[in-house]
Symmetry: C5
Subunit: 355 residues, 5 copies
């Protein structure tokens, strides 16, 4: 339930723009790191976000500044960052409320994008909220910080001056960040598809009530995926269709590619949901078939034994005048009669295709 619906009661009644962290409490402290790069050089550092420190200033030249915050439950550094870059209080409120749905919003001097990072875990898919703010030549990112930094591959790529990433603007960096998130969805789909494949085999071999519970769990898992990924369609298409000054023409084609990937993910989720529905039908009907099998056994047993039990009861009666009892061949005759009845029954069931 936790992953599908997060309780939000504590926010009720507060004025808009109040920062209240909704989500799992974080164990590690908030980590902040900063990169400044251009085609020629790249600098990594840890900025000071204490309340009275100087503000981080975006570079004057064409370099790109990227500040990445890992963990959103500590409010002061977040507020500091918000003040320095002129971020609207409602945006900050959304960043710390990890129950948000994915969205993209245009503000006067920056774009705000909110996404869900998903990862396969031991007990189901884990979701983490990632917020991205794109200014002219600066990018702020906020991770919920439950697992290790997911943007590490990007940082590694930034160190390689040969790659396209170094020579492009802040918008291409944002594309790269979103691309890595969407790529991870495929990992999640791989793991769900594996589970469904196992379930499918189980279903064909020997379904048990546990199979049903597993189908139900996968359904919930896909409901969670659907909820996290579906709005992304609109988010990314709004990014590459709107004419935001922060996004350059050369990046549009990459965003379109990202959009394609998103559609692929969404369609796969729907396909898997369709398959699960089909599997539920199969399960229910296999339960019916089992019941049929049990009923058959019961009916065969009853049908064979009831007549012959009646016969032995018949000759257990204590009437004085029962001539059969006196016959020397009475007993064997009755035994043969009963054998004939049993054989007739077996033939009857063969005809009915029950044995």
């Amino acid at each position: 339930m936790k992953r599908i619906y997060k309780r939000r009661s504590k926010k009720v009644g507060t004025p808009p723009g109040t920062l209240i962290h909704i989500g799992e409490e974080q164990l590690a402290p908030t980590k902040v790191d900063m990169v400044v790069y251009n085609k020629d050089q790249v600098t990594f550092s840890q900025p000071d976000l204490s309340t009275d420190a100087a503000c981080i200033v975006p570079p004057k030249d064409s370099s790109v500044l990227w500040v990445n915050m890992d963990g959103v439950s500590e409010l002061p550094p977040l507020k500091k960052l918000g003040e320095c870059f002129g971020i609207h209080p409602l945006v900050l409120e959304d960043i710390v409320d990890t129950a948000q749905r994915p969205k993209a919003e245009e503000y006067s001097n920056y774009l705000f994008v909110l996404l869900k990072m998903l990862k396969p875990g031991d007990d189901g898919v884990k979701g983490e909220q990632v917020s991205i703010i794109l200014g002219d030549n600066w990018v702020l990112t906020f991770q919920e910080g439950l697992s290790k930094d997911i943007f590490n591959p990007i940082k590694e790529r930034l160190e390689n001056s040969q790659l396209r990433l170094r020579s492009q603007g802040a918008d291409y960096l944002v594309y790269g960040l979103m691309d890595i998130i969407v790529d991870n969805y495929f990992l999640v789909l791989d793991s769900v598809a594996d589970n469904i494949e196992i379930l499918e085999e189980e279903l064909m071999d020997s379904p048990t009530p546990k199979t049903l519970a597993a189908i139900y769990n996968q359904k919930r898992e896909l409901l969670f995926l659907h909820k996290s990924i579906w709005p992304l369609r609109e988010v990314i298409s709004s990014l590459y269709r709107q004419e935001a000054p922060q996004i350059q023409g050369s990046t549009i084609v990459y965003l379109r590619d990202l959009y394609d990937h998103t559609i692929q993910v969404i369609e796969t989720v729907e396909t898997l949901r369709d398959m699960l529905s089909g599997m539920l039908d199969i399960y229910l009907s296999s339960v019916s078939n089992k019941m049929n099998g049990i009923m058959k056994v019961l009916t065969i047993i009853a049908t064979i034994f009831m007549p012959i039990t009646f016969i032995v009861g018949l000759y257990g009666m204590n009437f004085k005048n029962m001539p059969e009892l006196e016959w020397p061949w009475g007993y064997p005759a009755v035994l043969i009669l009963m054998l004939v009845i049993v054989i007739a029954m077996v033939i009857f069931f063969r005809r009915k295709d029950w044995i």
Copy 2:
């Protein structure tokens, strides 16, 4: 049923604009209070709305006037207010008809918004209709008045001159009122989600027919929520997209945020409905599984006892010529034979995975 459909027969055949109260009769009398505020000061008062009193006049300066009426079953004060502010008779008709669906309508000199306030109660969610009229620098609000005044937090915030609310116009006040209503939806969702979580555990442990009734009740509850909240999507988006002169540019971003919250609520309602459907499937199949279990017990019992009961019947026959009966080891031999049959049966059932 009452919450899902309110009887409306008494309105049929009356001319349009006729004020007829549809809804639960109210116990407490209608209460009216009035606030006038600007950045510098705030005044609370109780206006006189008797028919021959002078009209309340909106302040000439940039102050904001807010009249809040708690209870809509007393018609005279409502009519008086309508006359003073030039409210269309159809709007007044809608205010007293608490079976309305949420809507927003633009009139020449004011905006009319109708919403449903929802609160978790002991026997399900309680709904209450709230109407808001936004003029240039005045706001009228009407509550159904079944529970305590829900706008109290706003009044408290108005007393604090530091808050954004005091320095903004009437449109921001309306946003604040709607925000508090939407925030309360999260409380309702929290309570429904709690119920569903309990049901889910019950379902996995030991479902009873009561579980089914509870699932059905939650379904109705969500149907009621859906009905009350779904139209809100259109209401709020129409507010922030239309260019009504009553709404200033700086408020738009807040309305967009409110819209986002509404979408979140709606999606959660749909997700919970999806989950309930899945739970119904699980319930039905657990009933089938139970039946299977019962059938198995019956079949095992019958299959074990029918053959051996036949045997004891066999040797209860009164034939003269039954040599086995005379054998000294006949009785023990039959006992052993029956034991062998029982063991064979048990092995058979083990193989069939029934025991």
Copy 3:
């Protein structure tokens, strides 16, 4: 079936514009009455629509002429009226074909609106087709005439010169007529909701196959309502959105209100249909539960009596050498053994929660 689908075979193969009455044969003859009114005076009369009578002419001044025809199976007066007011043959064809779906059509000099009047009856909802033609300052209405004149309240209101109706144009009269039709839908919904409420209680207490048939009947009833009301949404919205010269600006706000009512009716129909679907699930699962109950009784009986019947059979065998039979305490011991078995069984079933 009659209400859901009317046979239309007799129209096949006739040229377009041929007047053929489709619908129930009418017992009473067609009645026509006429009203001319303005702010100052109102005149009721019975016009002569025989073929060679003079045409009715719309008043030259700002008065409004309303001709109402009750019954559409007599074709000559209808044709006469059509000729006098220049009505297109296709419109006349639609008026007499009571299997039409609601629609609104704009012609060069008039608007044509076709609606379904619904009324709760003893054996389900009764539908009646109503056609309205709105010219510059004249209105023609045609009722199927199966029940008493539904426009009586309007006629009564016309006699009261104080009411808004008298001082407004023909478009406001049309609004009034449509409003009375939509208001009647609420009566129908009240009656359907009553039935569903009764069914719901029956379902919870003691569902029988009759309950199922009743659910099915209500489903058909709502299918009929859906079919009759759903197109109205489009009809009314097309009326208040199009810029027909026959509709004045001041009437638009009333049409918008009417539209709201229609949406409310449609949503209620959908909600009630949703509820019925849920009730069907409950019914089916209560049947399953009943079966479970029966199976339990059978299994308990069989499981208790089969072992002890076996035991009494055992000691009914006629072996010579059965030492137990000779023991003086053999009989009581067997009785006690059987009692122990029965008690063990009862405990077993308690544990399985069957008793």
Copy 4:
């Protein structure tokens, strides 16, 4: 299956525009007839479409030329006609491929409309493809030719100079042809509705597995209707909304009426499908109810006879020391005891509402 899906393998791999007849082989040879008419006169004739004959030329004056081909499996006359009137090879390909879906296409100098003619037959609805090409003052029609000429009523109407048809252009003729096709849909609906009504009664009285098969057949029938009629909505609305030069203003209102009829047909198909779904639910639940009835009988029998069979077994035991056996009133006492047990059982079942 044949009606729902026609095999198309033989077309695969041929260049576009290749004429290959898809459909049932025709027994009768292709028949071609031709009409030229205007307000004053009408001429029927049989044109020569052999390859080396002269082309048919549309009349120079305002007369209308209509060529109707009955049967599309003979390709040479079709090709000849196509050449003379400058028909695109793709259009000819569509005409002979009777597995097409309804569509309307605009070409530079003509409109191409493809429809399905439906007729109730003994073993279900029969479909036939009809293609119509509308030029300036000429019309070509192609019928699949499986049943008798469906356009006969039009030809008869053409002979009557009083009718509107004679004085209008080619577009009105096309309207007339389409109108007769749509009118025939009502015949089909009448027949399907009759079948469903019979099924409904059968379902309420005594459903058998045959009822289920019949429901399934009607479902397939409606699937076929849906497939044939649904695209028509778009076809006709595209005709009366586009501004094709071939269609005059005065015909638009007739096309709108035709569109209305189509919508009515489509809605009825959907309503009937809804009803069939409901009937399936009823069937399944009546099967469950029957099973319940059988189980009850079994349980009542077992529950009554098991205890008393046990008792008679008890006194069939051969213990030496069974004092009851010696009592003179033992036998009657046991008989009375068993009677009491049976009566108790009957009372129990009455309480459970089983008898």
Copy 5:
């Protein structure tokens, strides 16, 4: 599962534009062939795509160049081709990733279309990805290469100078290629429809659990078809609606025809899915009917034998004082009594329609 969802894990974390082959490993090496043709001549050749070979250059005159690559798992020739024709890295990435969904993308100097080729195979439908790039007078095609070259019919047609194909531009060649792919869909549908027809008969005659598994398999098959074909609708409509300079006016009408075929394929897939759903209902209900049959047999047996078994037990009691036992006609009387009971039972079951 493989056909419905291809694992994509290995792509995660790589920079965009990285070429990674996703799909089945190919056995045969990549084959490349090249055609240059115009109205007068046609030349087939095998180009050299080694890294240091000269680039293939599109002809300067109006000839059309077509390069077809069979197999996409060898990356160097693909990269070489991409460089020579200025193909965007994202396009190359899509070509080698055979898990893509169908799409059409417009780039500055070429159009990129990605489709799925489908073929009926022994164990279900086989899918293969085909990518097409259309430049001014050149076409590149890429086949996954799992089966034999599917474009052979086109190559054969190119050798015939009489055909339209030779005299048209590159856009008509692309149409021809897509047309052959869509035509093959009909083959697939033919084979699926055959399977469903067989299933339908099996279902009516004697459904077994294998029938259910087969229905489930066909459902998955159609899910796969749906997934592969559905996006094509948008792909082709975007091609013929957009005003890409690569597509000439005369080809538009052919693309519209292709679009029609696609719609037909999609509708057939949906129709077949609808039929399968109906078949599942029939299957489930036939299982219920079978169970009913089994229950009837059991109940008849039990109901007949329980009473008479009771009677023989009765007269097996050992009471001293049982006068019936002494009567000379006691035994025959009991036999007759039991016969009467059996006959009564049989009549009872006849009335209940069980025998």
